[in-house]
Symmetry: C2
Subunit: 550 residues, 2 copies
């Protein structure tokens, strides 16, 4: 990999040499052109799906029907689905209605339904027999009005890239796909406000905006497949949250169809609007359980003129945190990402994807991205930061990529960890928010707690957001290992007042763990809101809320 | 006023001269020290209150009991309060309970109650007979549980700096003040997350954070008096929204006491938490009608190392908008404010406050602030932007302030317009969000519409947020003038899909105008939420929601 390479050694005697090499690298840095467009080419789940997942590995409820054991004998895992609720089953009359509303877009062919019934991880599989593909809000409204009055359960589905079993049916829910609702409705190049239908693919929106020198305020690995409506419904985080904040701040308006078919038009395109309660907020992160998002307006940042990426190595997580602090102070307003992976992740990348380590072996690796409006200024800030980080011995090795392809290569070291994990065995995935100074302690404690029961225990994620992705693999599904992981991981997180789902949501798999992060008063109020907006409970049943609220 | 002065002329021949003067100014620019601390000294309503409002001008319902006339004869203005609802009246037994819970902090002395019964504009006056000053969440819980079970209405009150009659009783509601809930609970200097009680004064929090090199993500003229709880309850916007976004993004957690006394603990201190619905969002901007906010956690930005302010003049609003576009492109990530005022505002500043115009007379004036991490880089960016703005003839005059006192003086040209207006006569105030390219058209149209019926029609506000403050003065209260303004202003705004309250909220005065910005389906859902959370309607009655939802 032809990146500018800095062999940096921790010894004092190496500082001059390091600085020299750094300066060579930084000379390149000030010459390179705008590189942000390369980021659009990162790997998406859609790309991954066909390449690395074994075909024919349908595992109905594979990760949701695990058995726990206690004094009373075996019991179902809290992740297992509850019994099917007494919704109606789809009849020929229902199909006739749907075909009348959606001619040619009411799918019942089992072959065509297969991919909509299974999640991206292939860990949850439903048995939906109808896939509806509306094109307009009015069609969604007609469908929901009918389903609500006929007691038919509905599973709203965007790009189906979720990781918690929230985007596929659990039983025979009707799948309501936003895939054909993919029109940009308006873009105001003065304000940067984009309005579009819910089914627009995130990457397509990024390409659309690039022509006007804007970018989407969110970016994530699934960008090639995920829909903006799904992003909003799950309050997706991703790689730009550190810089542009959450969707609760950047989404300006939503159009939502409620369970009974009423259309709630909150599709404002204003940065400020204090006329009554901000209803759209309710639907951001509600995982399709309160309404179906049909259109979104969102505030988009200007495309940065200068993007730089560096890959650094640290000896300890404490040094990594100090590097983060230094970085926030010295890079300030141009810092756009501060991500990390541990040496176990690097081993998986080397072993399973044949990705070579771009620097020398270190216990921890950091990916830092800057995005700014002046290439010279950004280069100088980065130079100063790197000099300080080196002379303070916070980083022990590092490399700066100055060309699009090399930036992409560095980013892939962080972004392809998820893919590498799928090759390592059965993976237990956890997405944890913690006070930033605690995030790696959980990995260390888990490793010690599990001993040799796990194949790999790895940590990576968004340091800037205090968001750890903890993954534990084993050669095959292992109920005993799961029993050792859970509830340990949730109790550990709760003891630090962390969140047991930072950005993935609760979906089917995590719904019953909500009390580790939310008090019962809050969950009770959530249930009240659900009952108010969807009294028959037809929208995405078995998801987000616990089976039996306290 | 000893600011660096640039006499800039539109003629091409003047460009060299202008550039020379600009360079002199920019030389100063690169020498000045961090100036952000001066911003903390801006005038607050608390300061203004005693100095420029005529004493003894109690005007019970002065702006809310205006009469409209139509074919059926006189009718009450939609802003007028409805009849008192059948809440209980406070008895001696009630007082005994309150005194037991809040010994020495249950106020009934009419003299001590006076300032809590009247709003900052002195336009709405209630007749509350009890002021409660809890110190803890548990005390708030006890009070609300009691009031709810005894059918006593409650008016939650922060700094009482609101402009729509939302913060004072309409009749005899019990005033529940957060003034003694003013402790900082925690500050994490790694993450920048502050947790504090709701009654902390915004300016005090700013001073507290400054010691750790952080700032609050919001700043507004009322900072010396307003409480953070009130800021959140009203979703305050202010001067930093352009840079740091709205409170829906920066508030990470809330503790709220519900109408029946239940404590809802959503006081998370995490940047990411997708465990269930984001309940705290419901209370941001609900104006105390859904619950009483008792504590807030909020993400604070690092204190910028370099702050610059320029004051520019433009010949047309179109040039001002082009300047804004240029500015967004060239100042990029360091732009932290883009505010404007028109020449009529300048006249009021000159006439009533004796503030001299720091540049030559222009139809429009702009205040631009940059905040960054590198003084040299910021100075260069500003230099390049100003050169381009001048050579493109977008700006016709300008001045750069490089010292704290001068920065403060330039900011006061924007911030003291509200004060100047109070000296010009009776003021009809409107706080409008519009697509940014339309914001000044409303002022022009209103001026033409009113002809010589108004004394002054002025426009100023936050260009960066598409937020216009439209103010119309007359020598005295003038029902005929009001009838000419309303509903004209609301219909004009609705025709552009704007918001009739960008940042001030609806409170008492604007509640019945909600349909100009929100469809009836949305208002109906708001009423459902109110009924769910506060079934007896004891919390801040007569506010935010319309009297008779459609």
């Amino acid at each position: 990999m032809a990146v500018c390479h800095l062999s940096i050694f921790p010894e004092m005697a190496g500082i001059c040499q390091r600085t020299l090499k750094l300066n060579i690298a930084l000379r390149h840095l000030t010459l390179h052109r705008t590189l942000s467009s390369t980021l659009a080419a990162r790997l998406s789940p859609g790309d991954l799906c066909s390449s690395f997942l074994p075909s024919g590995s349908w595992q109905f409820g594979s990760s949701v029907c695990k058995l726990h054991t206690d004094a009373d004998g075996p019991r179902l895992s809290p992740a297992a689905p509850p019994d099917r609720l007494p919704f109606s089953r789809v009849t020929q009359e229902d199909l006739a209605f749907f075909r009348n509303v959606l001619p040619g877009r009411t799918i019942t062919d089992p072959d065509l339904l297969r991919s909509s019934n299974v999640d991206w991880l292939k860990s949850v599989k439903g048995s939906g027999e109808v896939l509806l593909r509306p094109q307009t809000t009015e069609e969604v409204s007609q469908i929901l009005r009918y389903c609500n009055s006929h007691n038919l359960a509905v599973n709203p589905q965007g790009g189906n890239t979720g990781l918690v079993g929230g985007s596929v049916p659990v039983y025979d829910e009707i799948i309501l796909s936003t895939a054909l609702m993919n029109n940009v409705l308006a873009f105001d190049s003065i304000s940067g406000i984009l309005t579009c239908q819910a089914g627009c693919v995130l990457e397509n929106l990024s390409h659309y905006l690039e022509e006007s020198d804007y970018i989407m305020p969110l970016d994530l690995g699934a960008k090639g497949s995920c829909h903006i409506g799904g992003n909003v419904a799950t309050n997706a985080g991703g790689l730009r949250l550190l810089r542009y904040g959450s969707l609760h701040g950047t989404v300006l308006g939503l159009e939502v169809v409620l369970a009974d078919g009423r259309v709630l038009d909150c599709l404002a395109t204003l940065r400020k609007d204090n006329t009554g309660y901000d209803l759209k907020q309710l639907f951001i992160g509600s995982e399709g359980t309160l309404g179906v998002i049909t259109a979104v307006s969102i505030l988009c940042p200007r495309k940065p003129k200068s993007v730089n990426v560096v890959f650094l190595g640290c000896e300890t997580f404490e040094q990594l945190l100090k590097t983060f602090q230094l970085c926030k102070g010295m890079l300030g307003e141009i810092l756009s990402a501060f991500e990390f992976l541990d040496s176990e992740c690097m081993t998986l990348l080397n072993t399973h994807l044949k990705l070579p380590n771009p620097i020398s072996d270190c216990p921890f690796y950091v990916v830092i991205e800057t995005s700014g409006s002046d290439q010279t200024h950004d280069g100088e800030k980065l130079h100063n930061f790197l000099e300080e980080a080196m002379s303070s011995l916070l980083v022990t090795d590092g490399t700066v990529a100055t060309e699009e392809s090399k930036i992409k290569a560095l980013w892939s070291m962080r972004e392809r960890v998820t893919e590498a994990l799928t090759h390592d065995g059965f993976t237990y995935k956890y997405d944890i928010s913690l006070p930033v100074e605690r995030i790696y302690q959980l990995v260390t404690d888990m490793r010690q707690h599990l001993g040799d029961r796990a194949k790999s225990v790895v940590g990576y994620g968004h340091v800037g957001d205090g968001n750890l992705h903890l993954n534990i693999t084993s050669p095959a599904k292992d109920p005993a290992l799961l029993a050792a992981i859970e509830p340990f991981v949730y109790e550990w997180t709760a003891s630090c007042k962390g969140s047991i789902s930072a950005e993935h949501g609760l979906g089917l798999k995590k719904r019953n763990y909500i009390y580790y992060s939310k008090p019962s008063q809050a969950v009770a109020l959530m249930s009240d809101i659900k009952a108010m907006l969807d009294p028959k409970g037809i929208l995405n049943p078995y998801k987000t809320l616990p089976d039996n609220p306290k």
